[in-house]
């Protein structure tokens, strides 16, 4: 029996006019490309401004002309710009993009807007892993990756598994259970880092390194460290991007997504691995920086709606811009002293988190 309904499979071929009446997605994609291009330009501008600002001021025009090869910088300016500031500014961009993307993935995965790597303990796990790497295996590397980076990744994954198992129930992931489990695990992990100080064979150096990690200081990485971190970020982002449509479907609930043909457990494992790798990248460059993964995805969602396919690239670029500017502020607001960007982020992100919690009360039955 052929009905109007069963003819749908071939209607587009038979009725070219029907195609004209269907809303196209091209306008939306063009808008997204325009937005992403605009954000790319803002990111470049933020990087240039951040390079210019510091104890030694270098004008923006000098930086632009030098980068185009029209002017030679003094040897001192060259060292300051390209060997000290540029790696740090690029590192802050990678950290911001990684944290924002990790926040987006975890929020989609846990189906609530309060999840971020810091709040749910993923960052804490990465810090503990990194501490073990710094203090006990600082000279060890595997396939080009330092033990610190590998242990940060492992710590992040393990913490996610524990928090997720604690918060999960048959009806999904309860937001209260998630926050409580994340808080408890984060606190335990935070305190455990002091144990590593006691185990440290070189306490003076170890304490300083640990302190900077726990407060979130983006140092000046070597070009090799920055390259590896950027490559890992790209791997995680490219793993996550094809899963964004599935993440939209997971918003309907696990069982419904499964009925629609999504391999829920496999998708979830890939997303946890990608989110944990992003967290590890951020932690390996900047230590424990909270709330960036909360603020940026939320802002992007307010602007673009909840479609993760569109959100991922915009969130990555926005996160990079946000942290480049915040880190610039952190190193200049109390000059000549430098405020850890993690501390500044707590001042910005803490009130925002409370605002979000207050506005989510009714929706999440808090």
């Amino acid at each position: 029996m052929e009905t109007e309904w069963t003819r749908l499979q071939t209607v587009s071929a038979e009725q070219p006019d029907a195609q004209a009446t269907v809303p196209s997605n091209r306008t939306g994609m063009a808008g997204l490309l325009a937005l992403a291009s605009g954000l790319g330009c803002v990111l470049v501008a933020a990087v240039v401004v951040s390079l210019a600002v510091g104890a030694v001021h270098v004008s923006v025009s000098s930086i632009i002309e030098a980068s185009m090869g029209r002017r030679a910088l003094s040897p001192m300016d060259h060292v300051i710009l390209f060997e000290i500031r540029l790696p740090r500014v690029l590192a802050s961009a990678v950290v911001g993009a990684a944290l924002a993307c990790a926040g987006l993935l975890f929020q989609g995965l846990f189906r609530n807007p309060l999840a971020d790597p810091y709040v749910i303990g993923s960052s804490g796990g990465a810090v503990v892993g990194a501490c073990i790497g710094i203090l006990l295996f600082s000279q060890v590397a595997f396939m080009g990756f330092s033990a610190t980076a590998l242990l940060a990744f492992s710590g992040s994954v393990l913490t996610m598994i524990v928090v997720y198992a604690l918060a999960r129930s048959t009806s999904g992931t309860n937001v209260v259970a998630l926050l409580l489990a994340g808080f408890a695990v984060s606190t335990m992990l935070g305190s455990s880092t002091y144990l590593f100080e006691l185990l440290d064979p070189n306490p003076a150096v170890g304490s300083r390194v640990l302190s900077s990690w726990l407060h979130g200081v983006i140092g000046t990485p070597t070009w090799q460290e920055l390259s590896i971190a950027t490559a890992l970020f790209a791997i995680a982002a490219l793993t996550a991007f094809p899963l964004m449509r599935r993440l939209n479907t997971l918003a309907l609930g696990d069982e419904y997504a499964q009925q629609l043909g999504v391999r829920v457990e496999r998708t979830r494992i890939y997303l946890i691995l990608a989110g944990s790798l992003l967290t590890a990248v951020a932690v390996s460059l900047g230590g424990l920086i909270g709330f960036a993964g909360l603020i940026v995805p939320h802002g992007a969602r307010m602007l673009l709606g909840p479609d993760h396919v569109r959100l991922l690239p915009v969130t990555a670029l926005s996160g990079a811009i946000f942290l480049v500017l915040t880190d610039t502020l952190a190193r200049t607001v109390l000059a000549p002293k430098e405020l850890p960007v993690g501390v500044l982020m707590v001042f910005i992100g803490g009130p925002f988190f409370l605002y979000l919690l207050r506005n989510s009360k009714r929706e999440y039955g808090l």
Partner: protein, 250 residues
């Protein structure tokens, strides 16, 4: 003629507690069937078994003669759609974004929606009468509007059979009639309907076949007149004689 959906000797238990035992029935293509029974008797479980979300402890569920166990999830989702009792959605998804999820079984990881997918989404929204709601936020809709959006989501899968889990629950009588009219429309489009129904007064005249799931997991099957007798309803719902007369159809 091979039934579109068939259960052969299906049994199921939750953590050792038997919910369904030796369930046998079949649905022909184009039919419209109501599943009735008391609260907790296993109606939702039976629907979940029919979608393949749950695997039977014994027996087999067949879709167009093929065992669900041997079919890929995407393949099942292209033939069969479930409209769940509740759909909780985080974030501010619009109605169109929700309905577009129904195309998931047809999309690859990197393949976006093509013209055919968009036509299917438009047609599903049109049939379920939610086109005018396309830009509204799903979480801000009324119960009746949400129910129609859930049906549109199922229709976007272009299913041959639509399973509905208590679609009239919490709806006022006006919205209930609206929903039953929609089911008639879908049946006229050739879609097989299988719905668990809580409101018994909606069954006669609207569903050509009734499955009554009674205590002891036994099924009574027939027309509304055959199944909805005093004896059957007293037995199935444990309701004292005469107390439900006002609820019965005239």
């Amino acid at each position: 003629m091979t039934p579109l959906l068939e259960m052969r000797g299906v049994g199921f238990a939750y953590a050792g507690r038997e919910v369904l035992r030796d369930v046998n029935f079949s649905l022909q293509e184009g039919s419209c069937t109501a599943l009735i029974g008391s609260n907790g008797v296993g109606k939702t479980t039976l629907l979940r078994l029919a979608t393949g979300s749950l695997s039977p402890a014994s027996g087999e569920v067949l879709l167009d003669g093929l065992g669900l166990r041997r079919m890929a999830r995407r393949e099942i989702a292209r033939s069969l759609a479930l409209v769940p009792q509740r759909l909780e959605v985080p974030f501010r998804f619009t109605v169109q974004q929700i309905v577009e999820q129904g195309r998931t079984p047809y999309l690859g990881r990197l393949r976006g929606m093509l013209v055919d997918d968009r036509i299917a989404v438009e047609r599903a929204m049109d049939l379920a009468r939610v086109t005018s709601l396309r830009t509204r936020i799903f979480n801000e809709l009324s119960g009746g509007e949400r129910q129609r959006v859930k049906i549109a989501l199922g229709l976007a899968q272009q299913p041959r059979i639509l399973l509905l889990d208590e679609p009239t629950q919490n709806l006022d009588i006006g919205r209930q009639v609206e929903l039953v009219d929609l089911l008639h429309l879908l049946k006229a489009q050739g879609i097989t309907i299988f719905a668990s129904i809580h409101d018994l007064h909606l069954v006669p005249g609207n569903f050509e076949k009734v499955l009554l799931l009674g205590p002891g997991q036994s099924i009574v099957e027939g027309t509304a007149e055959d199944v909805m007798t005093n004896e059957c309803l007293e037995w199935a719902f444990d309701c004292p004689p005469g107390r439900y007369v006002g609820m019965r159809p005239a």
